[in-house]
Amino acid sequence: MGSNMAEAHPVGFQWVMEAKTRGATVLHIDPRFTRTSALADKHVPLRAGSDIAFLGGVINHILSNDLDFREYVQAYTNASFLVSEEFVDTEDLDGLFSGYDPDTSTYDTSTWQYENGFPEDSVEGDRHREQSAGEQHGSGGPKLESGTGIATDETLQHPRCVFQILKRHFSRYTPEMVERICGVSRDDFLEVCRAWTSASGREHTAALVYSVGWTQHSMGAQYIRAGAIIQLLLGNIGRPGGGVLALRGHASIQGSTDIPTLYNLLPGYLPMPDARHAGKADYVESIRGTHQKGYWHNADDYLVSLLKEYWGEAASEENDYRFDYLPRIDGDHGTYRTVMDMIDGKVFGYFLLGQNPAVGSAHGRLQRLGMANLDWLVVRDLTMIESAEFWRNAPEIETGEIVAEQCRTEVFFFPAASHVEKEGTFTQTQRMLQWRDRAVEPRGDQRSELWFIYHLGRLLRRKLARSTDDRDRPLQDLAWDYRTEGDGDFPEPSADDVLRRINGVDLTTGELLDSYLQLRSDGTTAAGCWIYSGVYAGGVNRARNRTARTEQDETALEWGWAWPANRRVLYNRASADPQGRPWSERKKLVWWDAERGEWTGHDVPDFPKTTPPGFEPEYGEAGPGALAGDDPFIMQADGKAWLFAPSGVVDGPLPTHYEPHESPMPNLLYGQQGSPARKVYSRADNPSNPAPPESGGEVFPFVFTAARLTEHHTAGGMSRQLAYLSELQPALFVEVSPQLAAERGLTNLDWAHVVTSRAAVDARVLVTERMRPLRLDGRVVHQVWMPYHWGPSGKVDGDIVNDLLGVVLDPNTLIQESKVATCDIRPGRRPRGRELLEYLAEYRRRAGVTVATGSHVLTADTAGSDAAAPGMTVSDATVSDRPAPDTTAPDTTDREEDA
């Protein structure tokens, strides 16, 4: 679901076809019929943005018909745990959970806690959302004060046990409701349910694959939670042939999250410190509970080892390992907020390191206007991309919004080395690091990012060497002594040396570490990313392992290295039953060897090696020693998989169907229309199309969705310049159904333009039955699909599809809702120049779009609260074409309704 694997990840798709030839059933549930659908046993089209309604229907089907894998669910999930009496579900609050604050549109999650668990500190949902807190659990699960002593009901009958809460929550997700919301017939839906639930139990598993078709929604994390709940109920996590598999879209996007260049994370998913953390101890206490189970309890070891790698000798116990050198965050510093800050004149310099946001980020106009209002911009890329030349080829040149002679931004273009001209590791989508050798040297001024950052740092340190300003100390004390190769003033730094220091070193012996279990908080170890400790185990670069697949078993532990500890299937203790025996012979992966007193198997066991299956920890025990023998989820604070999330997810402990920010449909399940915690930026330069209960939505009556083609790559910087690929996919097009083509007078291969309140985009029309009109609640809804790879540069050019989108974000991840919006489509080409601005203004006027449109996120009928009144009475001026004046004061919310 949410994936077109055959076209976006074609080489990975060979394994789906391999499974199919061995008898697996392949189901493809996705808005558009694609090559993935063509190769599947069944394709089920659904409305973009309705996946949680569909998945909730599957959960309800499982629970209503007792189809869960009960032994697995009872032992390995939190199904039996009791939840606080204060918790109130969406059933009783018209689509809200307890703890909602209408003023900040965030949740206080304290009522979602377990009963008998140690009381959680008051949780400020506002702060959590601003810091994309949901994303900070990429390695360790969210904090609980205690992992033991939680009240349970093993019979799963108690009305407040997770299992019963789940049952009630999803009871209204009936096949009839799925049909009305998603446009999926009852027969198709039940066929999916039968196939999915049959791949469950001791002998069978099902794998669930998703991509950004799930992630890029205002509730993307909840889509994935819904899929995970199904997989847990069916016992399909931690087992061979199971899992929830995220197909990520870039060579090292997994690595970019593990070793993040993200504002809210330090390496290994340690959160960036907050302004309110008094010191290191305070920080550590805030990210893990004193009595929680598992390996995240040792977060202090991971943090101190990082600080020792950052500041070396300068970091000592006496100075709190220089925790005070870390800059603090206190709100949303994400890429979209930052771009708005550029427009508002608060940011002066911007580095684009292999990234082309003028084409690749949502709301391209916002991106380009931001770039046009800087002191300086650095672009490092293989080729001249749109983001480097916005001052002469942006669409705003034609409309007069950007004029080169009046644009003050200095632009530095540095040519980059390619993947064969430098060495280093990529981390692919299954957490596996693969080292690349350098094949040839780069030419001219082409350099690696490693070279660029290393030497920029060296120059900055030189310029500040004599500074006595306290703010320069972190830079002066920085351990920046990486080995270099070659001569001259600007030698190439050694990626191998950097990887060794990411892996970690025992500072008392100088030896490389073998595992994160060796990390210490007493300053005797230094390691840049604790989850990558072990990549250099035994002094060998294991990311470089290349034992041929024909010379090892199918787990292939000798090819590359997967974090953590080279485990290929996470939480694989769950591949054995509670007694430690494989659930079945044919689904055997990891098991308890009673004779040797240890876990063993085909994969590296993901469990304390010698903790026997029947082990029970003492009450109040903490850390790895508190894991019971049947606690496979060793990074979770209670050792169990969470059907219900008592913390860590900021927009609800259970997935709930809300309509996308822009939708032609009212929410048929609750009064609450869209996600009540979604992040909205109400600014004149970021207008929204109206959605129920607002009026005017009929001006943008169609559902818009976008995705990749096989032959191009994201914003096109690595594909539109290549003759082969440009010839294969030469032009931007828009797919519409024959019915929509007839309704709007669109002709195959002729021009049409797609319109939102942000932009109008030209494309060739492709009339195809791959797009199917959906019957929803008695009306027909059309969907429109576009690929998004084009821009004004390259061997083939075209309009920028991302310009159509506005900025509204998932509160857990601050990722934009770019997989669904509403739009209009008209035959012929769009107007150009100033006429285009007038054309868009006219659309907004007809739809009644104001700054307030879409900003009233609370629509539930809550007793005693009138805040639910939809924004129909607001009479703000129509959104203008110019950026909003600066009305943002620090520490305010992002609602700028007065703009």
Binding site: V11, P260, L262, T335, T338, K463, L499, R546, R549, Q552
Partner: protein
Amino acid sequence: MGVSDWIRSWPVYRQLTGADRLGRGDAAASPQSRERQPRTADADRVAASVCPYCAVGCAQNVYVGSDAAGERVLQIEGNPDSPVSRGRLCPKGSASKQLVTGDHREDRVLYRPAYGTEWQELDLPTAMDMLADRVLDARRKGWQETDAHGNPLRRTQGIASLGGATLDNEENYLIKKLFTALGAVQIENQARI
């Protein structure tokens, strides 16, 4: 050449009478095609690499040869040893030789001054030095020592970065480390997008 040899030299004859009934192997060969050899045959060495496009992580073999101008990439192919990809590459991966050797690659630092309408050339050390000065200036202009309650922030909001997800782990590590030491917090990545 006798008549029978002449007839036997016909590809269609060989296809109908030999083992290569589909005409995709030996039957279709000619004296010219027999003399041809793959461009990988001239390679001095093969470097182990990984495809730079999506996250499947297909293994690549990079064939390197040399001529008067120095070493160059002759061909990039899938590595059949890989348990991930079994030697396959998609259209993008198959085109990656063009990605690294194509004439679209820039090889000089370019500079567009404020209010400029054309690129200018700049030598690399000068550009790095100019940039270092500008980083310090932007850092200073956006510096925030404390928040409204006096809590330490020790950061600058004057500098932002957005990185692609085709950077190496080692590169991302240094980016985060340097910017963190500078106090820059708006350090972001495609992973957010």
